[in-house]
Symmetry: C2
Subunit: 278 residues, 2 copies
């Protein structure tokens, strides 16, 4: 039984693999290579091949629940098979469930069980809008990470996140609350999109060494250099840089896993280029 | 094939059943009566009995996805069986999936398919934090309803929702944006908790005749009289008043469905008492 916390697993793997790359397992059924569509469980077969090809290059995997819910119970089964496979074959790799949940307190227990007891992932992404009291069932799981949406990577993020509250944008208030009030168990992290490097730098100023999950590199247009420079913490790490489509769908042919490995290596190298400078 | 929109189905059923009651199918596996736990699909068996006992008293059903995800793929299967049963046996009853989703645009397509193509429900609840651009795939479904969290029913709702933005609380800004900008297809609704009747009255002032989903009656402590008086629109309706635990878990014995019917009738009557006054 693995009693390491998310943070401990992450720190160990960032060092071992010398990587801040998270591969997003956004295994959209419609985009899968024809060769895996013939399998009984195409999303699982695809994920297995991607994971086997990239496990020594990553600091985490991040399946997004939406792409599995798309297929209903059959998709959830394939998500579970994928999580089980990673955990059993590569127990050192933390799994982040990108599910963007948050309901009222008593209801969240269902989502806590889905993520941490059924899928048995190490972390989950959460909406802040209902406040800390609502997401307490997640925060109570000290061994897991609660990753709160702060500044998201989508073009319309600013509609609410840049609204001025007490002289500063809402996303900064979210960051401050998470850093100063919600993080009693040391299990909180923040989502800050790579598509907004200036905001990423602002959040880093507020957040000490807290870990950020940084989506938006690759297909969404975020730039590696700006992201790394804006996001690194005092330990030359502290950012989990996610790329999904840019890695997993690099090829739709039989060489898809090999091409995914190439793209993961490329991203790992580019990120490290901006980490190891003085 | 039923081409009625959510709003049309709702209006017709509010009139036919003379009811603003929504029964929340929060069929928490741990709380199910022993008698249904023996069934192959306990959550489905339970929901079927509740629906058969209450279908002529409600204006909608609202399963919360969390209680089904709790069991993983087996739970999702039971949620689908439940939605299929309602739609086939009682096609006039709208189904609201309480899932509190919202991801970036391209990812939301997975959730749109889960709700509207797989479960084939009529409406879904959504977080506002990522803005309208992100949830556009939901808003594009003109035949369905997008129900945006505005003022939630939980005790800690105010942490962000009462933050002052441009001179007014954030929840009012959410309401104004949804009413004035997001509702181009006329498919938007708002979640406003019964536990905050003053805020409910404030949102009603801003929202014209827009429909509100109002959770928090019963177990959460919301009062019917205050809720109805604060929430009714100019058509003496416009609020879908949800009760979950107070109805479905009124008894844990073999008479659970009968007792649920009694509680639904009681709530229907109490709500109507405050609707039909001058």
């Amino acid at each position: 039984m693995n009693l390491m916390t998310f943070q401990q697993k992450l720190d160990a793997l960032v060092t071992k693999n010398n990587s801040l790359v998270c591969v997003g397992l956004d295994s959209d059924w419609e985009k899968l290579p024809e060769i895996v569509k013939k399998e009984e469980y195409p999303q699982f077969a695809f994920n297995k091949a991607i994971v086997d090809a990239t496990h020594d290059l990553v600091c985490a995997y991040k399946p997004n629940s939406a792409f599995y819910e798309y297929l209903g119970s059959e998709g959830i089964r394939q998500l579970k098979l994928s999580c089980d496979y990673i955990r059993e074959k590569y127990p050192e790799i933390p799994i982040i469930l990108d599910a963007k949940r948050a309901d009222i307190g008593s209801t969240n227990k269902g989502y806590v069980s889905y993520a941490f007891d059924y899928l048995r992932v190490d972390a989950i992404t959460l909406h802040p809008y209902l406040g800390a009291e609502a997401i307490q069932p997640f925060l109570d799981r000290k061994d897991k990470a609660s990753i709160i949406l702060c500044r998201t990577s989508n073009p319309g993020a600013k509609e609410f996140q840049d609204q001025i509250v007490g002289g500063e944008p809402l996303y900064k208030l979210v960051a401050k609350k998470v850093v100063n009030e919600w993080n009693k168990n040391g299990s909180c992290m923040l989502v800050v999109g790579a598509t907004y490097p200036e905001e990423l730098a602002e959040v880093r100023k507020l957040a000490g060494d807290m870990i950020f999950l940084v989506p938006g590199i690759g297909a969404q247009g975020g730039e590696v250099e700006k992201t790394v420079k804006a996001g690194l913490n005092s330990k030359n790490a502290g950012i989990i840089i996610n790329s999904s489509r840019g890695i997993i769908f690099a090829s739709k042919e039989a060489d898809f896993a090999e091409k995914a490995r190439f793209e993961a290596q490329k991203l790992q190298t580019e990120i490290n280029k901006y980490r190891y400078v003085r």
